[in-house]
Symmetry: C2
Subunit: 663 residues, 2 copies
């Protein structure tokens, strides 16, 4: 992969040109633009909205329907307590500093990184070395600090480099120390920013009229699924494994979003929570269907050695070698790969990157991001993590709800263990108000301790137990109020907390990357400016067919309407363009909209009912009667045929659109 992005045809991709087209055609637009706009908030116009709906539709078929997942629609409003338990209230934050002079708010890690990098570049310049442009990482979008050619001591260079290598590991206080130690100043004002403070990325609000019910907009859809686990398991007639899924908006109050659709404050997510038995190696019954899928992987070890070299490996082998932790995780990685393929993502611009140990949440055991290459570098578009039993465990602990699976054991489990039995009648009066505390202390003893206590009891007739807060921290219990014995216990039911494999999709990022991957420009011969094309696959293209009459002649009008209605009934979205612009201009407009097929109605249509069908990508045309043209469109849209098939079946047409086709 070259370090700069290219179009579908390998041309250098000018993000500015593409963005102009996307906004002109209203794929997206800054929200509230007439009010000056709000950072990180965008609206989708008709083609963007339709593209999004089509991607979601494929997603729903590919994942939910194909695997009988249980789709839920949970609320975005979430009470404080839920996100306190999940850890988001305490940990879902970035560190920010304020410039005391101009009030600028800076993300602390990005600020430190930018200034130190600028100094290192200045040093290189001063030493006459080549300054390399780092691949831009939109996760760390920052103001570029101005480079001054100042030479640094070798020791300082080494120190800076070490700081940068572990920049993700610093907390707020450490970042503050670095700012002071290296006297890092905001280049805009020349002053040091304030001490970093934690800024929680959740939008906070109040639910109901009383101010004591704080809530947040969810930062992910996952929690709503975990909270419904017990009900979903019951709905699934207690069968394991199963998956739930949720498609909905999530919210993150980014400190200063600046990367267009790639870093927004309100975004559509599609998340799957696949609940699986942690025992038995997390096998997946359909793994054999995908084991030959070839993945492009960038593993943890390669990254640790400072490289970005990917390897191509079959998912079956990756799981076998332990590179991917388990079958279920591997299965979903392969399914994500196939989904991306299906919607038209450029396969040469896709990789799966394994999380480094320090990147993962502490509870996760493995995590792979599906990254797509764009003009902003490699973008995380899907995360696929094994979240272990973390979430269900913390919510169960907090609420007391049994978020567990109970299964009848085929073979009853026989357990031999030291058991403590209390003679309540004597025990109670003995300890009175402390009885519960002492009982809890007894319950808390380990098997080893119990074995010793049993010996003590039989040897001396009583035990001495440390119980903080009772008496002088120790109590004596004699054998008339307690018994400790080694006994057999038979368990017929197995109870376990499932582990969760979570494929989590950022639909907006996928959509934007797909637009870059589908974009190219037609040649400029004939004096025309380069004409942009968005070659979306027919399945996801916003509109499938453009219907154009040759001219504004009244004779065409009824034909347009009937044809449009017939296509619509067949479930094929279409638009009529009967404006007075030339056919070429009308097709150009639809190239920019990514409409894969065009039908021209001309005077011959009026006579014999035949139509011409145009392929967006090659601009080639065929001509046939309406039934055969509609049949062709249907087969292209449902993916059963491609344009080459149609060209081989229907007569080629070289007529009035020669001016376009020859360019």
């Amino acid at each position: 992969m070259s370090s700069s992005a290219t179009t579908l045809k390998g041309q250098p991709l000018d993000k500015g040109v593409l963005d102009t087209i996307l906004r002109r055609r209203m794929f997206y637009t800054p929200a509230f633009e007439i009010y000056g706009g709000v950072g990180g908030l965008y609206d989708y116009g008709p083609p963007g909205c339709s593209l999004q709906a089509n991607i979601v539709d494929v997603w729903r078929k590919h994942f939910i329907l194909e695997e009988d997942m249980l789709e839920v629609d949970t609320t975005a409003l979430t009470p404080h307590e839920v996100l306190k338990t999940s850890g988001h209230v305490d940990k879902f934050a970035d560190w920010m500093c304020k410039d005391p002079k101009n009030g600028d708010i800076l993300r602390a890690d990005h600020f430190v990184e930018a200034i130190l990098e600028a100094r290192l570049n200045g040093n290189k310049e001063a030493r006459g070395l080549k300054v390399e442009e780092k691949e831009e990482d939109p996760k760390k979008k920052k103001r570029k600090a101005k480079t001054e050619a100042i030479k640094l001591d070798d020791a300082v260079v080494k120190e800076y480099e070490e700081v940068l290598a572990k920049i993700d590991n610093y907390g707020g206080p450490e970042l503050g120390e670095l700012i002071k130690k290296y006297d890092l100043k905001n280049p805009l004002t020349g002053v040091q920013p304030s001490e970093p403070v934690a800024f929680n990325l959740m939008f906070q609000t109040t639910i109901g009229p009383s101010s004591n019910s704080p809530g947040y907009l969810r930062p992910e859809t996952a929690q709503g699924q975990f909270l419904n686990f017990a009900k979903l398991l019951e709905f699934n007639q207690s069968q394991m494994p199963f998956a739930s899924a949720c498609i909905g908006k999530s919210y993150r109050n980014e400190i200063s979003p600046r990367a267009g659709l790639l870093r927004v404050r309100e975004f559509l997510m599609a998340e799957i929570e696949h609940f699986v038995d942690p025992e038995g190696g997390k096998k997946h019954t359909r793994f054999h269907e995908v084991e030959d899928v070839e993945l492009v992987l960038l593993d943890r070890d390669t990254q640790l050695s400072g490289k970005t070299q990917t390897t191509k490996v079959k998912v079956g082998e990756a799981v076998k070698s332990g590179l991917i932790d388990n079958e279920t995780l591997g299965y979903f990685i392969a399914r994500i790969h196939l989904f991306m393929q299906r919607i038209g993502v450029d396969q040469s611009k896709m990789r799966f990157r394994q999380h480094m140990a320090n990147e993962m949440a502490h509870y996760a055991c493995d995590c792979w991001d599906c990254e797509l290459f764009t003009t902003s570098g490699w973008i995380e578009c899907v995360g696929c993590a094994d979240r272990s039993a973390y979430d269900l465990t913390v919510h169960a602990k907090k609420t007391g709800a049994p978020l567990v699976v109970r299964e009848r054991r085929e073979e009853p489990l026989v357990i031999e263990e030291w058991q403590i039995e209390i003679e309540k009648k004597k025990f109670g009066p003995l300890f009175k108000k402390d009885a519960k505390t002492v009982e809890a202390a007894l319950e808390a003893t380990s098997q080893e301790q119990r074995e010793k206590l049993a010996k003590e009891l039989s040897d001396t007739g009583s035990i001495t137990l440390e119980v903080s807060g009772v008496g002088e921290g120790k109590v004596k219990i004699s054998k008339d109020s307690i018994a400790i014995e080694f006994r057999k216990r038979v368990e017929n039911t197995r109870e376990y907390t499932p582990n969760v494999i979570e494929p989590s999709f950022g639909i907006g990022r996928i959509l934007y990357s797909l637009m870059e991957h589908s974009f190219w420009t037609r040649g400029t011969d004939g004096g025309d400016e380069a004409r942009g094309v968005l070659s979306f696959p027919p399945t996801v293209a916003p509109t499938k067919v453009l219907i154009v009459p040759l001219s504004t002649n009244e004779k065409f009008k009824p034909l347009l309407k009937t044809l449009s209605q017939r296509l619509r009934t067949t479930g094929i979205s279409n638009r009529i363009d009967d404006s007075s612009a030339t056919i070429g201009k009308r097709y150009s407009r639809n190239d920019e909209l990514g409409t894969p097929l065009g039908i021209t109605i001309d005077f011959q249509t009026v006579q014999d009912g035949t139509l011409t069908l145009r392929d967006r990508d090659s601009t080639a045309q065929v001509r046939a009667d309406e039934d055969r043209i509609i049949e062709a469109i249907k087969s292209i849209v449902d993916g059963s045929k491609n344009w080459a098939d149609i060209e081989s079946e229907l007569p080629k047409f070289e007529g009035q659109e020669v001016d376009i086709a020859s360019r």
Copy 2:
């Protein structure tokens, strides 16, 4: 319409029984239930989620695709300024009081209403009159105050009745006065609640890290569409009329939601903004297609006379007589009617109620609600309002953005008028810093004033003009720096602000009402308890087909899988139930889930490949080979055939399910 709700088969509808089924089958569930729940927040489980998706899908086809509407996806987060302009910050509020003793928060109007009604009922009781139960209105859900049989003076009764008749017209201060005047006390504590304060119903938050960017969650999707008007018009190649549409979540921070799915804090809306030229009577080109649609109407005059008698009238006549204000409004009311029919709403439980003058926003010129009858009375499910040019005008005024349509006039418009021309070279030096103010004052003069000023100028050689803030409030301008003449002006372009017709759908309310309308119970002979059925039309039913093997015999397994896969490929959602429950139990479960069709696989299937197909509503069955069964299912799901057609085409089957069918 009787005053209490009935099932699809006319049985009395027990809301408790239905709710138990809906929650058992996870159509919906209180959100965050394991944390104790949060009022007004609900999650949809798999069948609810699917039902919702199917309703939205029909909606999208019926409105957006059918009329080439421009769908947009705009953000829920909205900055303060936008909602300040729209009027929501100042006016989107309810009045609330606090009980100083127990901290209870009460909606002031509901509180006054409840206490006065209780007193009136007490009076009737004391006089030995029958106390009528009022139809419950969920818009005014309130705690019922306890009735005490105390006789009131005739004058007091009259006063109370007058207050209740205009309860919707009181503001907070007036409600506060009523509370004091009549000494209204919270029955729970026996004390008067505090002075009412306005409680804005929008969820507030802060966008970005700085506290000076307040924002809200949108209370409707409309504003995002208005703000994009200019871009949408351009996208539509400047053609009028056109409509935009948006399907998305909206939020209202209800003071104390208590009506289940009918009054929630987060809900899915589907809104259309149809932009139309205010001149020419707001005609609609497709009106003739719907003019014969018969509507059940409850008009304003009938309501004013205190009645609820509806009339059945064709929409064409209603528009002709002026009952419905214009064709476009009438067109959409008819289309809403047809949509409701299509998704299976009980036509005998639907009416369109016209807003009373005091109910409408001050800018609206007509508004009709589509109301559905449920166990909570008549519920507003769709509003269809003519919002005039209000929204576009206020946003344009605030931002300066030209939210207008510019059209070339076919005939240029010739205007004769008094025009003022300023001789800048002399005018400027004459008034120096005040020049702009004086110019603005001149511009602001009316035609009548100008005529007088022209006479003054020609008579005296100068004019005297009042300009506040300049000189001593008057300035003198002589004819060497100004000219006032009666001239012709030709306008080739017409500029106007479109009016907006807004059909606005509360999807959750429609969904809940539809569940009530589809519900009934099978007879209880055979000693069984009544078994619930949800007779959703196949188009919107969550799952179309249940596949059940006769037993858990291994021979059936591969057949189940192949059949399920084949149906899925055909786009027909299905579920296999191969649990060990009896076939009857499995079908009962799916009656509650509203699955319209069932396929049984038995030993004959293994031999000859034939399947039985069961109709949920009649429990009748037919038997045929797989191809014919699938063909039958397809035609039922796409609505081209109904069960009677299938029964007449395929051989009847009376086999193992006789136990169910005969009940």
